[in-house]
Symmetry: C2
Subunit: 201 residues, 2 copies
């Protein structure tokens, strides 16, 4: 197994969702692990004084159209949820609690279920109860997850993850880091693929 791909995303990011549907296949193709690293785009917006693309004038309507068109092109089930976007602190805390208590694979299953719930079934991933139910639906301990959402250690863990992401220059979703190389956006998955194939250029 070669060096890993760090995959940064926000549970409320539709491009992050589209990226999540494609990145594991790239990792498998190159025998390269993919570390799923949810974080909070809100911290980026605060740092840079920006706002979600879909909420911006002119660019927002374009991006909604582009999202639907891109999803159809890639054959990915996708809808623009309502409400959208939402805050995903609870989803992130649950993810890291599951990762710490049950391992990477279970955490990824939760992330995938949350993404599917939000962008296919319109379940509000910003709602802590939805997060708990989604975890319980995977056979995880719902009560323990609910407790974890209020746990100071998990709160601190998430803050550390978000700070580390910003420290590494992550500013979007999806965002990929492989070694020292950073790739922003679904649009760069092809470049990352080529980078892994060639060793860089």
């Amino acid at each position: 197994m070669s060096q890993a791909i760090d995959f940064y995303f926000d549970f409320s990011s539709p491009y992050g969702y589209l990226g999540s549907q494609r990145i594991d296949a790239i990792g498998e193709k190159h025998n390269c692990a993919v570390n799923w690293r949810p974080y909070l785009m809100g911290a980026v917006f605060k740092q840079l004084g920006t706002s979600p693309l879909v909420s911006q004038p002119v660019k927002g309507p374009y991006s909604r159209h582009d999202l639907m068109r891109s999803a159809r092109l890639y054959g990915i089930d996708f809808n623009i949820p309502d409400p959208f976007p939402v805050h995903t602190v609870a989803a992130c805390r649950a993810y890291y609690w599951v990762q710490d208590s049950a391992g990477d694979e279970r955490a990824k299953q939760l992330a995938q279920a949350l993404y599917r719930g939000y962008f296919i079934d319109n379940c509000n991933v910003g709602d802590a109860e939805v997060v708990v139910k989604t975890a319980a639906g995977l056979g995880l301990d719902g009560e323990a997850v609910a407790a974890a959402l209020q746990d100071d250690a998990i709160k601190a863990r998430l803050r550390t993850e978000v700070d580390a992401a910003l420290e590494k220059g992550v500013f979007g979703a999806p965002f990929f880091i492989y070694g020292d190389e950073r790739f922003w956006g679904c649009d760069r998955i092809d470049h990352l693929d080529k980078w892994l194939e060639t060793g860089g250029w």
Copy 2:
């Protein structure tokens, strides 16, 4: 000849330059004309309250790296010029004057020469004298171009072009419109290519 592709760009946009190196081949492949339509991204920044990507914190350094990496991937000669970015009112006025007086093909030759001058040879395309010299180097009448830069009719022509672009929802460079379909960025040239191939999806 089918419906045309409208290709919007700013002479100071490096992604616009990269797009300009790829879009004509897409048009030829599908027997589809490409209308080169320089405009002023400054009008977009003013409209949306935004700023050039390369000048933004965090995203700026990333984009400079991404530009160099993308240019190498596509085998396109490219450097980040200095000064950068610059205002390109003179370049745009010259373009539309040449288009009106000598036709589309000559105007495109001027656009290509200006882009090469700026992004390969580091000639400041924001400088009216550089624009005039570049036009003269193509066998165009330098004195007439210099006069056109101050011509009220050409000034109005450019304002009309910029207003029309904004009216159509253009907000980036490169930006492509084919029929009712809009594609933003070099990243969407592949989608546009597929759209032309399939008739849409």
